[in-house]
Amino acid sequence: MLITSAIISGLGLGSMYGLIALGFHVTYVVSNTVNFAQGSAMMLGAVLGYTFHVRLGWPLPFAAGTALTLCALFGLIVERALVRPFVERGSNAWLMATVAAGIVLDNAMLFTFGKEPRSFPSVLADKPIQIFGAGVYPLQLIIPVVGIAIAVVLHLGLNHTRRGKSLLAVVQNPDAARLMGINVKSVVAVSFAISTALAGLAGLLIAPLFNVNSDMGTLFGIKAFAVAILGGMGSASGVVLAGLAYGLIEAMVTAYLGSVYTQIVVFTIVILALAVMPNGLFGRAAVNKV
């Protein structure tokens, strides 16, 4: 019973980390940059979904679709205003700029959405079903499926389609890609939109299990970044597997050693794993061509 519930908890949480971490992966493979406001994009997805569906009473598919579109828009804005100008000047300041964007968004939500955590009810997280003696919400089973499906789609899309290969070409040599007629700017912009939409999706999926509040994304963002690094930023499947592993280890440590040790043990494992495999579990060493 202990082990079943730990595995289910771990896989559910892990796939959410994986989903947000995939967002880091997508922008990284295309542009070598990441959006550190991913956690906030996750919060944005949940807050907008709540506002449209619960407060305004829109039908769920429409509310979720609008929320994700707006999350993608947030990604476009981040890329255009906070990443591109710095990258064009060869500066790394996009790092701080995206962190700042997250803080600004969190606080803007604090004012507009309100101060209190709210509940996002869902029929998928209402009545638990029993699996090997452990109670599980259907939503907890759907989340890993969604996470893995998106990783597969991304992997196939990037590596086995013409368009995907053109995305990867951009990061290898932007100038050559441009000469080959690839619109580098729009490729990078699209990758940012996809990444924040993925985070928003994670937020929408997590909200019924948790609650909706303006700082819900902070810790998730940090954990997801750890997961992305652990998995190797360049590998979609690596990132998702690392997410699942992270979630499982977290739940197992909590179940067998006690929650006091969870963060200590998990982050020690992350450090050790990176010491042994500096490019992440599934990553390849970056080659700096001179």
Partner: protein, 394 residues
Amino acid sequence: MVLEMRLLSRRLLLAGAAAASLTVALPAQAQETIKLGLVAAMSGQSAKSGEAIVRGLSLALDEINAKGGLLGKKVELLVRDDESNPAKGVIAARELVQREKVVAFFGGLDTPVSIAIVPFANQSKVPFMGVWAAGTPITRNGAAENYVFRVSAVDELVDVALVDYAVKKYAAKKPGMILINNPWGESNEKGLKAALAAKSLPFSGVEKFETSDIDLVPQLTRLKESGADALFMVANVAPSAQVVKSLDRMGWNVPLISHWGPSGGRFSELAGASAAKVHFIQTFSFSGNSSPKAAAVLDGLKKKYPEIKGLGDVTPAVGIANAYDAMHLVGAAIAKAGSTEGQKVREGFYAIDKYDGLIKSYDKPFTKDNHDALSSSDYIFTYFKGDEILPLMN
């Protein structure tokens, strides 16, 4: 009749005050006031607690000012947001004391914030009045000259009450603990262990969790397997709701006896139908309270804050009630001291004889050895019915 007279004279005074503020030059007026501060969570997860405290303090402040203020001066309240962040709380406290020169200041819901402020209050010799945070070491801080007072629950005493309740109500023999992983959780772990030891009761296990934890089934499963027959819960409203939801999912129907965390927000909305199963401690409840003072304060609140329509809008009542009584006690201390100097105000607290308050009739509420005006006999157990907190009759 008496009430009417009081209301009438209050209105006249208010009108007079309004007229005075129009005629008297403003800077002179500003120097004439006695400033009191509040450092509490006005934003973030516990924002509702800050709102409740402000309401309780403001209502009492209006009453004090209607009677002519303190030492012949009007009293004003300066509110600062600590965002539940200890560092921001200390900065706000410094600003209030050093720049605004407040005579005394009140604290908010978060024990970690108050604990961070305590050393500063004692150093600067400005009385710091807790109205919510229950951490034992806030008032029992070991300072030679202690400037920290409190009108609220004290963890150590709450823990004794929680253990008593578990034994009396549920005949618990081996309870477990599910505690938030912060100084407040720590404070209660010590208190609960001591209270259990005093009754020679064993505990099944102690589990900690974080505010951001979504799934507490692993922790709760550990407690279940260790044979817990009741659970003590210490956490704020959102994490408490996660405990209830996780228990639901496990299908484990265990008595859940809680510190007052759930009262700090929309617990029924967040925790769902099982919210009502949680029995938690309070110092005060308007519901089921027949005292005329409670009715008068509720009326006053409705007048001052038109958004308050029913009892569901004055949850959490503890914040309002503790703050209301605390403001009057601070006023009494300043009056007794006859001065706004910190050291004298501190002596003023010890000199308070009787105050007929909202929570109870205080009789020598503070002594040199006891800076807590409330004791375990003032606690009540309550539960959520919809948005309303109702007392449990037992």
